[in-house]
Amino acid sequence: MSVRLNQGRGQQWAMTVVVAALIVLLSILPMLRLIQEIFAPGGTLSTAAISAGLTNATTWVATGNTLVVGFFGTALAVVLGTSVALLVTLTDVRGRSAFVLCYVMPLMIAPQVTALAWLQLFGPASPLLKLLGIAPPLGSRNPLYSPEGIILLLGVQYGPLVFLLVRAGLRKLPRELVEAARASGAGWFTVLRTIVLPLMTPSIVAAAALAFVSCVGNFGIPAFLGIPANYLVLPTLIYQRLAGGGPAVLGDAAFLSVLIGLIAMAGILAQEMMSRRRDYRISSTSLPAEPYELGKWRVPVQVMMWCLIVLILFLPLLGLVLSSLVPGYGIPLNAATATLDNYRFVLFEYGAARRAFLNSFALSLSAAAFAVLVAIPIAYLVAWSGKKWVKYLNLAVELPYALPGVVLAIASLLMFLKPIPFTGVQLYNTIWIILYAYLARFLVLALRPTIAGYHQIDRALEEAARVAGASLFTRMRTIIFPLVAPAALAGGLLIFMTALSELTVSALLWSSGSETIGVLMFSFEQGGDSNYASAISAITVAITFVLMLLANLLAAHLPSGVLPWRD
């Protein structure tokens, strides 16, 4: 009677297969390749790589250092981020959205730019300290070249990350729980201690775990602050080994990157466990609690909060801009010496710099565009297909971003060191290997907002198009894409911002001709040309600002939380 049963499944199949193939290529293959290198270098099972790594003393020193800066950096980030979240969410301080924008800003700035800015602020050549006449004598050591410096900057960089997660948790805290406690006679501090903080423990622990993963994986800060002090952590150790030994030491580097991958994995698992527990006691959803009136303390608290912003954002950025205006190292800045020569040099004169800008723009743009296009079908499967295996698909996409960037970089090197089988195409030593790593690493940044976008759309909109006779691809084009586009594009913008001054991955993958802005900054700084590095950093910060403003235009069409700096 009928021959049409099961017709029209072809497109669904095609989409699923393409999506699955992409994810295998971008997420699963590199990880498998890395593991293979450890256990079976060259194809035969062997524990040589592992035992060589384990017996090397520098491995253990760097591991110890990694854990030290990881733990203390996390502790600082948790103290800062949680206190700010409590003040901003639970009290009646004014000017909240401006404050949140400024406080979250460091998260949008590349770590090595943060590092450079702080170095310019405190060093003996600091134009600002010189202006004030309190600069240490030239030749003295910058106090930030130390583990303490690294810890301080990690805390500043990832405090906002903790802030965002704890704030999200606090927003879900039902007001009744706070009000019931106050009705029972508890004062504000008692409520905080006995109700709010215990209920927020899962949020705070999850945030701490995420901050830990970010701290141990960070490359930019320990590279700028630790290498001059010869204080190496695992990511910088890997960088130094590769820079010195080239592909010959890849096996060695693979072992170290798996080691740091395992440390990070512990953090990721802790965070997974905690986020799953987050909701178990707080079942009802209701309005957030009335803000606590600070009364006469309000003004002092606000002043303190803005002092924090001045200290962690304005002063370093000022230091950065000032040293980008100085003609050379150690020259004091005044009306006579101030110059735009550094900008002219990096923008127009130095060939490698122009190439780096072009490369980074092209890479970021391609990565963003690709991620937006791919995120829409992947998010469709994740959000709407309702199949269980899709959960693992999502997890696989998260992995290259969750794990430290060096892990992915080493895995990419291993994959593409030799020409791709059957085609003979060589990606190693070209810009394409960086593009591959960016695609793999940043895809999740577009995927998350897109999934959130899908959750906001009533699925009946798609079903209505289905009964109107539209096939999957037609629905994607005419109904789904227009509806989730704002969220996906916002994700694309986030990728563009992150990738533009990215350093961790490109530091390991670049070759002559495929320099990126991050690599350029790093080599200027290592060569002692801080002024050029500052000029480039100032430019990238300005671009980031403009992009944030641009993204704000989309804000009305976005699920909340997509733009982290929007309150």
């Binding site: 009677m1 009928s2 009946a460 079903e463």
Partner: protein, 359 residues
Amino acid sequence: MAGLTINGVTKTFGDFDAVKDVSIEVKDGEFLAVLGPSGCGKTTLLRLVAGFENVTSGDIRIGNEIVSTAQGCVPPEKRRVGIVFQNYALWPHMTVAENIGYSLKVAKVDAETRKRRVDDAMALVDLKGFGDRRPANLSGGQRQRVALARCLVAAPSLVLFDEPLANLDVHLRASMEDEFAAFHKRTGTTIVYITHDQAEAMALADRIAVMDNGRLAQLAAPRELYREPANEMVASFISEGMVIPAQVLSPAESGHLKVSVLGQEVVVRCRDGEKPRHEAKVCCRAPDISAAAPGEPGIDGTIRRAVHKGGVARIEFAPDADPTVTLHFEQPDPSPFEAGAKARVRIASGWLIPGGASA
């Protein structure tokens, strides 16, 4: 246009049967309402017919074509069914005309024909001149009409309504009900209308399928559903029917028989072939009950509650013979009944609910 045959359909999610062995035959051009409390499986049934879910067993046919079997199903986009969604599901990024013309565009109908058919559809639902508006700028009733025009324009063989009035306010509902009735009359389309509102179902449908816990409880015309419920669920669900324990005293004779209810002997309607039995159940409606005149046979008991409702009072009455039963009826003002007072009522008529599995 086409009829719809649902044949022994079961849909299982995990170990939960959302729809259990349901068979319904909808005739070409018929207006069938599917009525039931929330969670009874009516929405799942609609999604099975539309093709969004596939059956676990059984089959579904539209016209002569099998569209769903356990082996596979025709996807929704190939079924030529129209759906009016509960929340309208109008695409916010398209104008009214684009919304309505979407299915024609997908089917690659040329622009001129498309415009004509969209205009016709808009005229039919009284939306002339609204073509360039966005759905966001329309009222609830207008959105509903756009949704109606959108499914109309493709000339579907079958139109499914998914609680289309649930989001409208009360006075708008009545006028939309009229509109749906007119729509059905004008187009002669086969309609399956999902609702939890029995007044709506009674007013619109040729027949009503009452669903309960995934099963089809009864499929009948509205009047029959009210007068001759097939089981206790339907009896109590429709118009707040009272289900009262009774004893059948005599065999059925031309559709009636004698029962003893709460000590009173009453002649009630029944199916043919009923025989005397114990533990039977009788369904009474409020109009079947009234205050007993002095000396008349009746049921003694206590007034539990008397609620004035303007012009009439709703009286709830607990008979002495079985205080777990509550009878309710309406008493025109001025009502002599006070809560807590003793009273005597009589049952004039009723329906003997068929016994056992005869539902």
